[in-house]
Subunit: 162 residues, 6 copies
């Protein structure tokens, strides 16, 4: 990485490193991305979440706030992500008998897509849930033999001109 120019967005005019060809010249578009993922938890943990008896508080409420904050921090977390104005962030949780699914939707009017923002939001939501229920998931030796985060993917991406 040390013998040439690197672009956040690759310039087409690589012989002229001072060209202005970069994301600045892209048109603003309406953009949205939806990402989701799952954290598999013990039945006892899922029951505690549903009943509202988790000791530290409601894991989904805390995860929602953590996720919204993480989406806004994406350019500080993923080095090549641009700092862009976020239009909206929405979280949805679904509990089935084996896992909690987190779905994070992000919208913007900007020059770049928001799939990394949505993926970051879903990931931090799932990590926060894990953190809130650690004491239920640990075995006697302090290990997590069953807890696992999986299926983090972008389920939809949209781009429309303004």
């Amino acid at each position: 990485m040390n013998n040439g120019w690197r672009w956040l967005e690759i310039s087409k005019d690589i012989l002229n490193p001072f060209s202005m060809i970069d994301v600045s010249l892209k048109e603003d578009s309406m953009r949205a991305a939806v990402a989701s993922g799952k954290v598999f938890l013990k039945p006892v943990t899922l029951r505690a979440i549903k009943k509202g008896t988790v000791k530290k508080g409601d894991p989904l409420a805390v995860a929602e706030v953590a996720s919204i904050q993480a989406v806004k921090k994406t350019p500080a977390l993923i080095p090549m992500c641009h700092n862009i104005p976020i239009g909206s962030i929405t979280l949805e949780f679904e509990i089935d008998e084996k896992s909690v699914k987190a779905t994070c939707k992000v919208t913007t009017i900007s020059k770049t897509g928001v799939e990394m923002e949505a993926l970051t939001g879903a990931s931090i939501a799932l990590l926060t849930i894990w953190d809130m229920v650690k004491y239920l998931e640990k075995d006697e030796e302090g290990q997590y033999p069953e807890t696992i985060i999986t299926e983090i993917k972008v389920t939809e991406k949209r781009k429309e001109s303004i």
Copy 2:
């Protein structure tokens, strides 16, 4: 909070969670907000501030910088605040015989108002002043029987089309 979609800005079309109805579609406007608040301090402390003899330095100079930095951090502090470009931030301090009043004005051209930014700026200014004069305000038991922050409010909000 865990059984439905949540919007930073509430969608009117709640049955279609993937609608693009959010702050992105609002028009940019010129916006300003002014917030103020007071910290009540001992006479000895107010004299030290006026005379410039506070040991750690000028509380108002430090408070001004802290406040400007805090205004820019508002979306990292108040979860539902959007990250928006700040046009200007201004601080004004008034000392009377019982308190220091901090007034913070924030302007932007954006889709959302900046009252939370102005309130955050005023609040952090007052907290910073308190921190700078702690050693004068504490009683012998390390308590603060007289120090109090109060009257934090939005004194003016404006919105004009561009």
Copy 3:
């Protein structure tokens, strides 16, 4: 501020700016601080909080998470605050017919007190509540004639040797 040394903690040996006399040499103690404050809101807003019908979600749940995050950010907000390990953070909310009171308690084992951390936690909790109910508090002209944050103070501070 530009013609001498400034200390986070004032050195006793001001003639020797390279002395090691600073907070590093203080003994670690068990420390706790409790700070509280109030946000005055309209009756309709207080009813919406109690009934759980605020559009953006539960203001107190969001305020609690925001407050916990803000306590940990205190040294980034208040310039002269040290970065110290936080032992625990607790929030309590009380709703009466005119206001919501937020009480924030912070504990640590450290060389410095945590009253600024507790004050920051209480302040950000109150600002977050305001942000969550803005749409109920605004009058037709977008002003906040009744909303006010007040009575932010340190109600208790403790220090015990380990």
Copy 4:
């Protein structure tokens, strides 16, 4: 969450909210945690990573730095995580014919474990790799039908007295 005290670490003495029972009184121990996860990528992407021909630079080098930075930001991302001194952070990547596996090990001498730090490090490493190879993973409609992050888990946790 709004009608009682909440602890970062639950107090055993819930009737006395100002008790000092919290993580501060735990003994410091030597602690380590290892977390890993995988991102499934197209064969063409994996070849480009191995050959060093990814346009934005080496995804694994960028992911390693991003991961190290994210580990240190864990208490700002996961609300109930304590801010603790991190002793070491190590990343390992393995590429097979379908995926890149990231393994993040974190050590500390502290009062709390570091599994959330290791999980955050592994998650951000995988998200950063995704971001670096987006242009190879997208189909013609800008979707990611094959890219997926999976199997994020804690593979080992240790605690030893000093």
Copy 5:
């Protein structure tokens, strides 16, 4: 600083502190800035960088990522800098027999220039290189008699209307 209004951008209408005259009303322009600087290192260190044998990893790869992240953090580091959308960030390193030169170019479409962003990027790149090779630069007493960062300047600034 405590007896008047302060502007991020100085208002022309200082008698009317609630005027809207600030950066918000400037036109957006295409802007670029290039800043560079040098860190002087021992011959043994420069050889280790060229051969890729520095123990902690490739200093230039780490410096590049650190620099990109620092550019985006500029408004959190330099108090009077506006938070603006960054279009592109590029780093270039040149090694001669006495030093490593870092050149950082930043582009934006915005109301303010990006020279502080480019200067911050170059500075943090050089500091990161220093940090990566500390063990080679220290003498037996742990001092750095030869290491020095120098010649940090803005080599080019451009502004073009859109």
Copy 6:
């Protein structure tokens, strides 16, 4: 960087990546570091600083607060820096007929030295001064032909057992 383990502090036992050998096992020591640097400015600028007539406010007061904040952010800026408790931070400025010199001293009781913290503090102080006087330093074409930051070095480093 992608085919092996990387340590913040290099393990001596590289065949056992899960060894606990890292900074955690080092003894805490009293440590101090002093770093300094200079920004060369026009005579008119230096006069304005001395007379207190810089439009945006006192550059040295703002630089001091910015520097203190930057020292505490060092582990977020320099990737391989540990997050450690800072004991004290002190800034000193000296103005001669060609430049402002900033000297930053940092102390800690910790397992690692604080030279990167002191260097970061000095660097951000100088960048902040530049930012505050930009309007005086620019020529008619908006360039900075004379402004330059130079001679950033560690002038003293100390380590003493507790």
